[in-house]
């Protein structure tokens, strides 16, 4: 049984149909890069997976939880499907350590000591052990994004969703975040990432999904799909992003 099953979802914002029947499934351990122009619906699809957006039709099941069912336990789902955002969204009033421990203490009901130990471990893993007591506004964008990844990792999710997490970063800070992503990928995490980093998609992802105008146009192994696009839409997109 796939870990994520998206079946014919439709999503409208007012009169604009953003997703026009998207179907997709992910096996455990798979790393899927979702690419496409802005407005193609890729971020919206990702946000539907953890219930941040509601679909008007279709069905999504994640790790046995039917996200689209009325009264679905979204808070439980979100413990299993972590999400990292383009704009980091760290809590500015909390230190790095407390950003990480907040949900561990409140949601996972961990003991203080255990939560602190886990926080130290994940923050160390993203290479920021010396920033444990810093506040978000004392960190660079790349550091903040690494903390956001650590915060999400600490919840020990079965799936991680990354929504254009390097798009807001200065070019020289992209590398450090991608390296953290690679290390997470290397440990077998199931990942779905919306990205504009084509090289990263080619080298790290198992699969590439190309979306255009609310539909999936291509879905295939990362390398082949990016090197030999089958549709004119993907060819045009790739030549536009790769100059």
């Amino acid at each position: 049984m796939p870990l994520v099953e998206i079946a014919d979802i439709h999503k409208r914002f007012g009169a604009v149909e953003v997703l026009k029947g998207v179907s997709l499934s992910l096996e455990k351990g798979e790393i899927v890069a979702v690419i496409g122009r802005s407005g193609s619906g890729k971020s919206t699809m990702l946000r539907c997976v953890n219930g941040l957006e509601k679909v008007q039709a279709g069905r999504i099941v994640v790790d046995g939880i039917e996200v689209t069912a009325p009264g679905a336990d979204l808070n439980l789902l979100r413990q299993r499907a972590g999400m990292v955002f383009q704009s980091y969204n760290l809590f500015p009033h909390l230190s790095v350590e407390r950003n990480v421990t907040l949900a561990l203490r409140l949601v996972k009901k961990m003991e203080r000591e255990a939560a602190l130990a886990l926080a130290r471990q994940v923050v160390d893993r993203v290479g920021l052990a010396d920033k444990l007591h810093a506040y978000p506004d004392e960190l660079s964008g790349g550091q903040q994004q690494r903390v956001a990844i650590a915060r999400s990792l600490a919840m020990q999710p079965t799936l991680m969703l990354f929504d254009e997490i390097t798009s807001a970063l200065d070019p020289e800070l992209v590398g450090e975040v991608l390296r953290v992503l690679e290390s997470v990928a290397a440990e077998g995490m199931t990942m779905m990432l919306v990205t504009h980093e084509m090289n990263f998609a080619k080298n790290v992802a198992d699969r590439v999904i190309f979306m255009d105008q609310g539909r999936i146009h291509e879905d295939g192994p990362a390398r082949e799909t990016l090197l030999e696009p089958r549709t004119a839409e993907l060819r045009a997109f790739l030549s536009a992003v790769l100059h």
């Binding site: 941040l52 808070n75 955002f85 969204n89 760290l90 809590f91 409140l106």
Partner: protein
């Protein structure tokens, strides 16, 4: 009979100022509680409550405080409800303050980015914990300067209750000024007392801001 201004008069003014402070405190408590309700009514996704809160805020903010005082002091007796100046003043100032607090706090709540709500939701926090642990601490920090600023306004606005015969600092000044015919020193003293109260508040605000800033 006109008499000399004495140190006893100054003491009388300082003592009268306790009513100014008590009235401001009562309005702060009453207005704060109702203001919280109004802020919540403004942000919940239930239209009738939104409209009710907006209507209330417009009504209060769009009419003079003096008129509101008169409504309670002269209006309620028309319905057979006798109110003394203290009750009328405390009620009117509370309802007045509630509209302003409601708007200040709504604005502070809404100025916390929707992304903060989302980030908290994405970690599995239930709604009430998103509010209490993520959004409120940030909103409170934003709300302190305008809240304290309005409190100072409220302290000075208590002087309007002199017009319904409530003896607070301004009314006491009128009385002594009439008896001594020394308006300048009397009202000057009153002004100094108002200043001391408001300045203390502004210092308190600074300290609160600093404390919350240190803890972020």
């Amino acid at each position: 009979m006109i008499r000399e201004l004495s140190s006893g008069d100054i003491v009388y003014l300082v003592v009268a100022a306790r009513w100014t402070v008590l009235l401001a405190l009562a309005a702060m408590a009453g207005g704060g509680a109702l203001g919280l309700v109004i802020a919540v009514c403004r942000v919940v996704s239930f239209r009738p409550l939104n409209w009710l809160a907006i209507g209330y805020v417009n009504l209060i903010q769009g009419t003079p405080l003096l008129g509101q005082l008169f409504v309670f002091f002269f209006g309620l007796p028309l319905f057979g409800i006798q109110v003394d100046p203290w009750v009328a003043a405390a009620l009117a100032l509370s309802l007045h303050a509630a509209a302003f607090f409601g708007e200040i706090w709504r604005g502070s709540l809404q100025s916390v980015s929707a992304r903060q709500w989302e980030a908290a939701a994405a970690l599995g926090l239930p709604y009430h914990q998103r509010l209490t642990h993520v959004v409120l601490p940030q909103a409170i920090r934003i709300a302190i300067p305008p809240t304290v600023g309005f409190l100072m306004q409220l302290v000075k606005d208590t002087s309007l209750t002199a017009l319904i015969g409530f003896v607070e600092l301004t009314r006491a000044s009128q009385i002594i000024s009439a008896a001594t015919f020394a308006p300048l020193p009397v009202y000057g003293t009153a002004a100094v007392i108002y200043f001391v109260i408001c300045f203390s508040l502004s210092r308190l605000s600074l300290r609160l801001e600093r404390r919350l800033h240190a803890a972020r």
